[in-house]
Every structure is written in structure tokens, then in C-alpha cells.
Symmetry: C2
Subunit: 355 residues, 2 copies
């Protein structure tokens, strides 16, 4: 494995007050990881350096042709002072899955993991400790060739930046209202939906703004072909508890394979709760809501962990889930996942990785 | 209208030899246009400055959420020394159409037009004059907020850079071989296909590489829903002459509304050639190729202007168009469009704009 060179900052920034609520994604730590790719040479010069601005030519391909990949995971500080990562191997695997679809060269897994650990360790003092807070880790790759023309870039930059974050949803574990989108489409099978890349997110913004204006905090996407089957939320996968069975849309190429999704499925199965990964239509949901069979709905994602859903709106129909509050299974999943992440509950699955 | 400030370079670069073939998109001129957007303040500080690197935070939204828009048009030097732009108003309109879909604030049309003219004028000496060459103009917008989280950015940068270019297809007006893609999908109705934005191009790269390996220079996309109807080529719209009628896929939300497409339609109509904008299925094409009704196929785009297609491949079937050479109408369109662009043919339509 390549050795990671380290250059420490000589000008550390003040660390934000740990008791202050932190706004998601606005503050960055003192250091970042960087590694370059050059065609013919591969990935080279892994280094941890002071957090700094990037200098790129205006013709850098990332600005024009969208060749960019990102990941998102978190580091947690346990009560006894250890630093835990949650299933970072899954993020690394997914990053390379995205890279393949986007024609970005794969990143060696060993150096990727080591880079995460070392950069988190160096900025350890930035990991907040207040309930619900964590250090958000953002690995990402951009295409840097100064070239106008559509082809994969010959050069790339891989970086990891860190941001201390509070709860993603300022309301905390409060049920959210979700808007089922019937006009815009986020992704379609055969496209780039299952890659974690900018194009999928910009595609979602118009709908998100519309939903916000209507008082809904998130958008639930339908498939791009039949506009009938549930896909996922803007930055979460989605789960339904119907008549005692947990149902979630199957991975079909157009939705992201969420690490939290996988975790929910594995936990439910370990508890003896039946889980089905399959197609779920809006019709099925409306029917289940009407008959009372729709017991719980929640979103799963790194940022929010578990986000109970209180209401769904599809066209002019609004349906409440259960009593509109937090479901029992949603709460249990939230408590278990965050408990394991914070080292408060025994990690029987070997999901956490100590830094 | 805001006044454009001008700062000229004190360190001009050598201008490439006008008789040397220029590789597309690799050389940039001495100046660029820049304008910033700030929420609450709007677009401000339009300026022409020496071509320079951009400095951005690693958290700048463009690197993560794909909020980027671009355009492409050309300036030509006529034999009598005038500088002509070709239908720049259409590019400006389309830019704002893209901006709306991408939740990027619209750019005032008057300043956009003035910016193109002034920056081209300043770097006038860079416009190559050899047959087939021109000055490629690349306006683009990127989201610059240093923020991790999915929402439209509050700040943007709009730039125009210029690149002297040779013929896009080094072979010149030589028929190309095109691969009809049946696995990957570029865009789907309801998505961002009709916006000129990075996400659509990165989505196309995997297929393009596959086609190249098979000896095909371009990919022809099918619709994302039924995978049956023709959409467009990677960076061109597509036309078929079937039994004397010109047929091109209708604008359906998932293909780009090409300026050259519009020009082809208007020219054909002015010549009394019937034109149909409608759905075109692969089956119809295969049938037309088999019976000899498929007389010509060509792509239309700013880079290549008109690109005759000699062969199409769909799955295991390869079909030759006519005698595999350059069709009569393709040649006439090429000669007419380039003639008007270079001021050699009278511009009856008022398409050219003198700088
Ligand atoms: C589109 C999308 N779906 C689902 C998820 C959930 O994935 P994970 O649980 O790995 O965070 C995310 C992101 O984090 C996402 O961006
Ligand atoms: C996807 C796509 N389709 C079509 C075109 C042709 O458009 P225009 O004729 O305006 O250049 C382009 C680009 O230039 C393009 O990128």
C-alpha cells in the first residue's frame, strides 16, 4: 500500500462549541485527505494536508460533464473515548460500484480505508460528543482534465473532507411528511440512479422545492418507466411495515443501495421480523393505508439514520401512517443502530470499525 | 444593463498556428468572462479578465450535487474579416431553459449576449481561419456554495471560455458509424435530459466506451421507458430521410433541443422538403433500411454541424444507409449551414449576429 504523507496545519481553526447545535454540512475541520490519479500512473501521492481551496482550470471536466462521485459516512465518539466508524467497508464498496458506472478509476480499498481512519484520527478533537452529533465524512472524486469534449477524464482528484454535524433533521426523531412525486423523475433503470453522483441530486431539486412549498420535507420518487412503483427518498431508502411484514423496494439499478437500508434489513431479520425486498406500488400503499394494514413507514440513511414518516401525499390524497407518530419498529431500529454506532449496545454483527 | 468591466491580460499566450489542425477543446484563449450570483443580490460584477484558474472550496456544491449548466456555440471569421455568431439567441434561451430545470437562477439575456460579443471581440485574434475551424464558445454556470446537503445553491459563478477548434471529427465530412444502445439509458422524460448539464454526459460515457471498442464513433440513445424510440446521439440530434420525407424525433423532454436541429428543420421546410417531428422506432428504421426507403441519416450539432451516418448497428444487426456514403441532402445542409456561418451564402433567415 502507498504511504500516506502527512502535513499538519500550522494554523488550526477554533473548534465549534460542542454544546451548540451544529448546522449540517457547513463547517469543515483542519485537515483533508487528497490523492491524485493520472492515466498510466494510477492513483498516487496520498496525503493528509491542511484543509484548503482547490485550484482548477475553468475547463476542468467536472464542471462540464458531471464526472463526480461521492460517499457519506460518519465517525462517532463513544462515552469511553473511542472513535467508531459504522460499516465503512460498505461505503468503500459502493464508491467503487459508482466509479465503475461513471468510468472513474476504482480506488484501492486498503488505501481508502486507511485514508478515512488517518484523517479522522488527526482531526479527532473535532468529533462532537453531544447526543445526535457526529463527524460526517465525505469522500469524493472529481474529474480534472482541462478538456472540453465528452469522454472519461484522464486525471482525477480523490478527497476526503470532514464536517462536525448535528442532527440532520433539526426536529430530531419527529415524523416527517413525504411528497410522492408524479411529475419529475430522478433516475431510470439503465441510467446512473444507483451511482452516488451529482447528476441524480440536481435532478431532484426542482421537485424538492415544490414539495417544500407544499409543506413536505422530503420527496419520494416513483420509477421512471411506469411511474407506479416506489423507489426511494431524496437521500434515504424507504421502508413500509404492512401487516407485520417489512417491505422495501428491491435494488433495481435506479436506487441507491443504502448502508442503512442493508442494516435495517439485517436487524429485522435477526429479530424474526419478515422482510421482503420487492416492487411496491403506490396503489398497494394507498390500499394498505386505507385498510389500516400500513403500520409504519420510515426512511433510512446515514444522515438521519431512521426517519419515521407520519404522512404521505400522492396527488390529492394525503394519508396518515398509523396515528401519525413514531412506530414501534422505527424506534427500535433507531435505538439499536445509534446504540451500536455509539458503542452503547454490543456489536454482534461486527459492523463498527475502531479508528 | 450592468456594465462589463474589462481587465486585459499583461501576459498574452502565443496564438496557435492557424494552419495547424487544432485538437478540439484543449487550448483556451487569453481572456474569459465571469459573473457572480449571490442570493438576494442577483447576478453581479460582470467582467472580462485574463483566463485564470478557479479557486473553490472542496465543499463547493458543484463537486457534489451536479448543479452545473453549459452551452456551446461558435464564432466564425469571414473572408472579409467580420466575426459572425450563429443563432446565439437560441443558445441563450436554451441556457435559461436548462437553468430553470436545474434550479439555477436565470441569466439576463441582454448581458449574456453582450458578454459573448465582448469576450469574443477581445480575443478576436484567436479565431482561426482555416477551412472547418472556428472559435468554440463555452458559457457555463457552476454552484459555488461551500455546503454539503441537497438544495439549490445560494451562490453561482457564470463564465464564458473560448477555445479555437478544428473540425470536431478529424475525418471531416466522412460518414460515421453509429451504435444504437440497448442496455444503458441516457435520460428519461421527467428527468434532466433536455437540460444541458453534466449529469447527462457522464451517464453516456460507459456506453460510448463500449461503442468505441466495437469500432463505432457515436452512440444513438433509445427512450428510457420503452427502449424502442430513437432519441439522439451523444452530442447531436438525429435525422432520417425516409422515402423523401425528413423525420426527426420530436422534443419530448428527454432530448436536447439542438440549435442545429432547428436549423435543419427550417432549411428543409424552406426547400419544400417535408419534415416530420415525431416518434421514430428502431423497428421502423430497420424496416426502412431493409426496403431501401431509408435514404439518408445524419446527426446535427454545433461541433460537427452535419455528420452523415453511413452505418447503424442495433444489437447484432448492422445496416448500411444508402451506399454508405454522404447523402445529397446531408451535403446540401452542411454546405448551406457552414456557408451561412462563414458569411459566404446570403443569410435570408437573419441567423447570424455580427460581433
Ligand atoms: C439517494 C439516496 N438514497 C439513499 C441513501 C441512504 O444511503 P445510506 O444509508 O448509505 O446513507 C442516500 C444517502 O445517503 C442517498 O443519497
Ligand atoms: C446531447 C446533445 N444533443 C444535441 C446536441 C446538438 O445541439 P446543438 O445543435 O445546439 O449544438 C448537443 C450539443 O451540442 C448535445 O450535447
Amino acid at each position: 500500500m502507498l504511504e500516506i504523507k502527512i502535513e499538519k496545519t500550522t494554523n488550526p481553526k477554533p473548534i465549534p462549541d460542542k454544546d451548540n447545535p451544529l448546522v449540517f454540512g457547513t463547517i469543515f475541520t483542519d485537515h483533508m485527505f487528497e490523492m491524485d490519479y493520472t492515466d498510466g500512473k494510477g492513483w498516487h501521492d496520498p496525503r493528509i494536508v491542511p484543509y484548503h481551496n482547490l485550484e482548477l482550470e475553468p475547463s476542468a471536466m467536472v464542471f462540464h460533464y458531471g464526472q463526480e462521485m461521492f460517499e457519506g459516512l460518519k465517525a462517532y465518539k463513544t462515552e469511553d473515548g473511542r472513535i467508531l466508524l459504522f460499516r465503512p467497508d460498505k461505503n468503500i464498496e459502493r464508491a467503487n460500484h459508482s466509479n465503475r458506472r461513471l468510468m472513474i478509476p476504482e480506488i484501492p480499498e486498503d488505501i481508502f480505508m486507511e485514508a478515512i481512519k488517518q484523517v479522522v484520527k488527526i482531526d479527532e478533537a473535532w468529533i462532537p460528543t453531544k447526543e445526535g452529533t457526529s463527524l460526517y465524512i465525505r469522500p469524493f472524486v472529481i474529474a480534472t482534465d482541462p478538456f472540453l469534449g465528452v469522454r472519461p477524464s484522464y486525471t482525477y482528484k480523490f478527497m476526503i473532507i470532514l464536517s462536525p454535524v448535528g442532527a440532520y433533521y433539526p426536529e430530531g426523531l419527529d415524523p416527517v411528511k413525504i411528497w410522492i412525486e408524479d411529475e419529475y423523475v430522478r433516475a431510470v433503470r439503465g441510467g446512473i440512479g444507483e451511482a452516488k453522483t451529482g447528476g441524480n441530486y440536481v435532478a431532484s431539486m426542482a421537485s424538492q422545492m415544490k414539495a417544500h412549498e407544499e409543506g413536505y420535507s422530503q420527496v419520494l420518487w416513483l420509477d421512471g418507466v411506469e411511474r407506479k412503483y416506489i423507489e426511494e427518498v431524496g437521500a434515504m431508502n424507504i421502508f413500509f411495515k404492512i401487516n407485520g411484514t417489512v417491505v422495501t423496494p428491491m435494488l433495481n439499478g435506479s436506487i441507491l443501495s443504502g448502508v442503512t437500508r442493508r442494516t435495517c434489513i439485517e436487524l429485522c431479520k435477526s429479530w424474526g421480523v419478515p422482510v421482503e425486498e420487492r416492487k411496491v406500488s403506490v396503489d398497494e400503499l394507498e390500499e394498505a393505508a386505507r385498510t389500516g394494514a400500513l403500520e409504519e413507514v420510515w426512511g433510512s440513511g446515514t444522515a438521519a439514520v431512521i426517519s419515521p414518516v407520519g404522512h404521505l401525499r400522492y396527488e390529492d390524497d394525503v394519508f396518515q401512517i398509523g396515528d401519525g407518530g413514531i412506530g414501534e419498529l422505527s424506534q427500535k431500529l433507531y435505538d439499536t443502530v445509534t446504540g451500536i454506532q455509539l458503542g452503547k449496545i454490543e456489536d454482534k454483527f461486527g459492523w463498527t470499525v475502531e479508528v
